[in-house]
Structures are given as structure tokens and as C-alpha cells.
Amino acid sequence: MIEDILFQLELGLPQVVLGLVNGAFYALLSLGLAVIFGMLNVINFAHGAQFMMGAFVAWMLLAWGGIGYWWALVLSPLIVGAFGIVIEKLLISRLYKLDHLYGLLLTFGLALIIEGVFRNQFGSSGLPYSPPESLGGPPVDLGFMFLPKYRLWVVVASLVVSLATWLVIEKTRLGAYLRAATENAALVQAFGVNVPRMVTLTYAAGVALAAFAGVLAAPIYSVNPQMGSSLIITVFAVVVIGGMGSILGSVLTGFGLGLVEGLAKVFYPEASSTVIFVIMAIVLLARPAGLFGRA
């Protein structure tokens, strides 16, 4: 019995490792959601659309400007982040005094607009975007399996960026302001910190994280207008499971659930699309505040 399971696991190990790649996207996206929610108290429903924009901007930079992957990795988050600033200044900032649900509704509307515009412009079939040559080449031999270089890079890049975000928030002066303003914005403002600007930049940073994930995703999934919308619903479940209390918690939950999804693909493929939601239900029963959440 146990040997059977081990044998199946050995065969399925590549699937499990590929689950980590999905986990990398869950981690980056739930991280961005958590950063935005912490500061703005808004669940950014447009996060999926902004992820998709990140991928499309990378594609446009290459197709129209001849600008390659590595520059896109920097430029696309900046461009989409700037778009985030406009959105926050024009629309979201009007809602801070209202019920938090309005923020969700507004960003849902934005997601519909963004997705619709891209579908009109580019159709829904998807555009190809190939990985840079330096990450093409033969797959890396991990001893037990061959992993395409690019997927390995996605996992590493996601880990590095998540860690950097954690360091900025936990260990720098700016992060200290941010955490203080999350606790009590009025008091921090009284100390002379420009809180509204900090809120705007936080939103831009969260959006830029989504766009960064989008550029990472572009060579793996085809670049299409719907690539963000179903992903973001899964990420919502990830956020509910992890709770939005801690940055490292979001990252851990993201990667962990990616792995679980990979395992499900090996042992019970029919459940691979629903396993995260089932886990969410179990966590809600056992620990309603989420694994890392504060009640």
C-alpha cells in the first residue's frame, strides 16, 4: 500500500514540482492583495485584470517596441503601477469613508472594463510570448526530474520578490511607517507623514506586484484577456485560507496550496480544480480567521 503511494508519487513528482510554479503565482498575487488590503481596507478585485495587463504590456513592449523580456520585467510593473496610481487618485480614494464593500464593487467594475477593452482589442484566443533565450535551452536536471529552466526561474523570482517585500515592510523605516499607518492612520499623519500619498503608493506597489506576476506568467500561459479573472478567484480562496494578517503567511499559503494542487493532480486529477476550495471550507470550519489571520 505505502509502496504503491510512493511509486505513484515518484511518477507524479514532476506534477508536484510544477504545482510550485502555480504556487509562485498564488503567492505573488495574494501578497499584493494583502499589502493593498492592509493599507486601504479594499479588496482589489481588479488584481486579476492588472495581472493580465502586466502580461499584455510585456507582449506589447516586445511586439511594438522590440523591448525584450528583462526590460519588460521592470517596465511593465512600472507602467501598470502608474495606471494604479491614476485609478487610486481618481476613484478609489473617494471611497475610504464608505463601507468596505464599495471598494470591492468598484474594483470589480474596473476589472470588467479592463477585461472588456482588452478582449475587444486582442480577441480572446491568446497571443504567444516566448521566454528569453537565456532561460530557454535544455531543462535543468534536478536529479529526480527535468524542469524547464524558465519554470525554475519563476519559482526563484517569486521567492526573491516576496522576500524583498517582506524585508521592506518589516525591516525598513518606510515599512515601519506603513505598519503604523495600518494601525492608526490619523496618528501617523499627525506626526507629519503624508499618509494619502503613502496609500496611493501602496496601491501602486500592490498593482505592480500583480503586473510583475503577469510578466512572469506570459511565457507559460498564453497571453489572453481572461487569464486573470479565474486565477483571482482562486487567489481569493488562498487569501481566505491564509488570512491577510501576515506577509510571510500569504507567501507560505500560496506556495503550500500550489503544492497541494500538484499532489491532487497526481492522486486524484478530478479534484485538482476544486481542492483549494475544499481546503478553504475545512479551514473555515476549523479556524475561521485563517491559518495566519488575526481574529
Partner: protein
């Protein structure tokens, strides 16, 4: 608090209703609006295409059911498509495979909504606010994936060729006009039931929970039980609406369980006016009409819907009926 909460009922003194309609809990303005609604239902099919009207009424009932939650309990469910869509599947399946008469098929749809409502409500009520919205959305996505895999739903094809059958085994419904009267009756029953619930002592407790939950609890109300009951009721009526729609069009598909449908019902209710009696129906009428006339523009419909969302949230939070009510200084 009232100004901050997602729906605030305008403060107006209770006006005495028209005799006879008082029993329904309507004030005078609402009674007049209700008579207009009845008149529209009665003469509508002679001016407008009945199938279009039936679609409109199904969505109006769906939006009214949704409004019971958001408008009177303050719970934003972002997964109501699961009740609507699964209600449709069950009604279609029971009418086609089990040979149920239409009224039984619709009730089966409602029962499916109730069952799903019990399960998802039991899970989602544990969290509030934004988390409640995310949980219901995630659960609905799970139901969507299940529908994609289960055999009885027909996957991408859906359940097609569902017969409308004979009402009570006697009246043939294949003519659009006969079907219309059934749909109108289902809508009216659902609408009046919701209205009765809102104006009952139970509904008053719901409103109290919406306005100040800790206080309602401290007064001895089990807030979670009240929320649960309202949630299941809303889910049941959404299932009825979905089941009716499946019979009207003879088809149940994945579109009705998809997250976009959950968003659509939120939009209809928001546009019409959260927490108003007539708002959801008006909102549904506007959105369905718009979809009908703009269908040829494809993805632009999504863009326009998103735009309406943004405008409603930023500048028009009372919705159409809410604004009219404020202008006339009545409660609608």
C-alpha cells in the same frame, strides 16, 4: 452608522397605505408602485415580446432574492450564480429526465437552491464583510468546476431541449403567452414573499443586525441564525428564478453558474437601488434590456456594465429607485 453602511433607508414617517395593500406591508407610495407593476405585468405581453419579458422577470426575481441579503441583512454574496445556475440545472434535469411537471420542476430548482444555501451559508456566515463576499465567490467557483465535470449537467453543452410540459399536468405551456402567465405568477409570489419577510418582525431583526450587529446580539438575538435563515431564503428564491429561466428557454448552461452571473445580479441590484423594494426589479429590467439591444457589440457590453458599476459606486449609490424615492421623499 447609517451613512456608512452599504444601505441606508431614507428616514420617512410611515405613510398609511391604500386599503387592502396595507396587509402586504406597503405604504402609500409602495402601493401605487405595486399597482403600476401589476398593470405592467398584465398588459406587458401584448406590447413586448413575451420571451424577453419572461427573461426579465426571472432576473428580476433573482435580483430581488439577492437584495434580501445585501439590502436588509447587509451581506454581500458574490456567489449567487451557484443557486441560480444549479436551480436551473435541477429544474431542467427533473423536467427532462424525471418527467416532472413544470411547477414541480421549478420547486425542485428552489429545493436545490435551498440545499446549496444551507451548505454554503453554514460555511460563509462564519466570516463577515469582505471575507463573506470572497468566500461565497470561491464556493460558487467550486460549484462551477463541479458543474463542468459532473455528467448530468452535460458539461460544455449544458442540458438542452428541456420541455416546458403541462402545468399541473393539464395546461400546455409550449405557447409563449401561457408560459408567460406562469412566470409572472412565480415572480409575483416570490416578490410578495420577500416583501412580507422584509416587513415582518423577522425582517426588522435583520435590519437591526445590518445596522448594528453587536447591539442586536447584546439584545439577545442570535444574529447568525437570522443571517442563516435569510441566506437560505435568498438562495431558495434564486434557485426558483434559475429553474424558471431554464424552463422558459428549455436549456440550462454553464453561463448561469459562472462568476460573471454573480456579478450581474450585484449590478442589477446596485443600479436599481440596494435595500429598496422595487429597485432590484427596475435594475434587472434596465440591464436585461441593455443586453438585449447591445448584444451585437460583443465585449463592449462587459465594458459598459463595468462602467455602470463604477458610476453607481462613485456617484450614484442610492440607485435609480433610491434616487426617485429621495426626490419624492417617500420610501419605495
Amino acid at each position: 452608522m447609517a451613512a456608512d453602511s452599504i444601505t441606508a433607508t431614507p428616514e420617512t414617517s410611515r405613510v398609511r397605505g391604500l386599503p387592502g395593500l396595507q396587509a402586504l406591508g406597503f405604504n402609500r407610495a409602495q402601493s401605487i408602485a405595486f399597482l403600476l407593476l401589476l398593470a405592467f405585468l398584465a398588459i406587458g405581453p401584448f406590447f413586448l415580446y413575451p420571451v424577453f419579458l419572461m427573461k426579465l422577470l426571472c432576473f428580476a426575481l433573482f435580483a430581488c432574492a439577492f437584495n434580501l441579503l445585501i439590502g436588509y441583512v447587509g451581506l454581500l454574496s458574490f456567489g449567487h450564480a451557484m443557486f441560480f445556475g444549479m436551480g436551473g440545472y435541477l429544474a431542467a434535469h427533473s423536467a427532462k429526465v424525471w418527467g416532472f411537471t413544470p411547477e414541480l420542476a421549478i420547486l425542485t430548482g428552489g429545493a436545490m437552491g435551498a440545499l446549496l444555501g444551507v451548505i454554503s451559508g453554514w460555511l460563509a456566515i462564519r466570516r463577515q464583510g469582505i471575507y463573506f463576499a470572497m468566500i461565497t465567490l470561491a464556493l460558487a467557483q467550486m460549484v462551477y468546476f463541479l458543474c463542468l465535470q459532473m455528467r448530468f449537467t452535460g458539461g460544455e453543452d449544458g442540458i438542452q431541449g428541456v420541455p416546458r410540459g403541462r402545468l399541473f399536468g393539464m395546461f400546455d405551456l409550449s405557447a409563449d403567452l401561457s408560459m408567460y402567465w406562469l412566470v409572472a405568477a412565480v415572480f409575483l409570489i416570490g416578490f410578495l414573499l420577500i416583501n412580507r419577510v422584509i416587513h415582518s418582525p423577522f425582517g426588522q431583526v435583520l435590519t437591526a443586525i445590518r445596522e448594528n450587529e453587536p447591539r442586536a446580539i447584546s439584545l439577545g438575538y442570535r444574529a447568525d441564525d437570522y443571517k442563516m435563515l435569510a441566506f437560505v431564503l435568498s438562495a431558495t428564491l434564486a434557485g426558483v428564478a434559475g429553474g424558471t429561466k431554464a424552463l422558459v428557454f428549455g436549456i440550462a448552461t454553464l453561463t448561469d453558474v459562472y462568476w460573471a452571473m454573480s456579478g450581474e445580479v450585484v449590478l442589477m441590484t446596485l443600479l436599481g437601488g440596494l435595500g429598496t423594494v422595487f429597485g432590484p426589479a427596475v435594475g434587472a429590467a434596465v440591464i436585461v434590456t441593455m443586453q438585449n439591444y447591445l448584444a451585437e457589440f460583443g465585449a463592449w457590453v462587459t465594458v459598459i456594465q463595468g462602467g455602470i458599476f463604477v458610476i453607481c459606486v462613485v456617484a450614484f449609490r442610492a440607485g435609480i429607485v433610491g434616487e426617485i424615492a429621495r426626490w419624492l421623499r417617500v420610501r419605495l
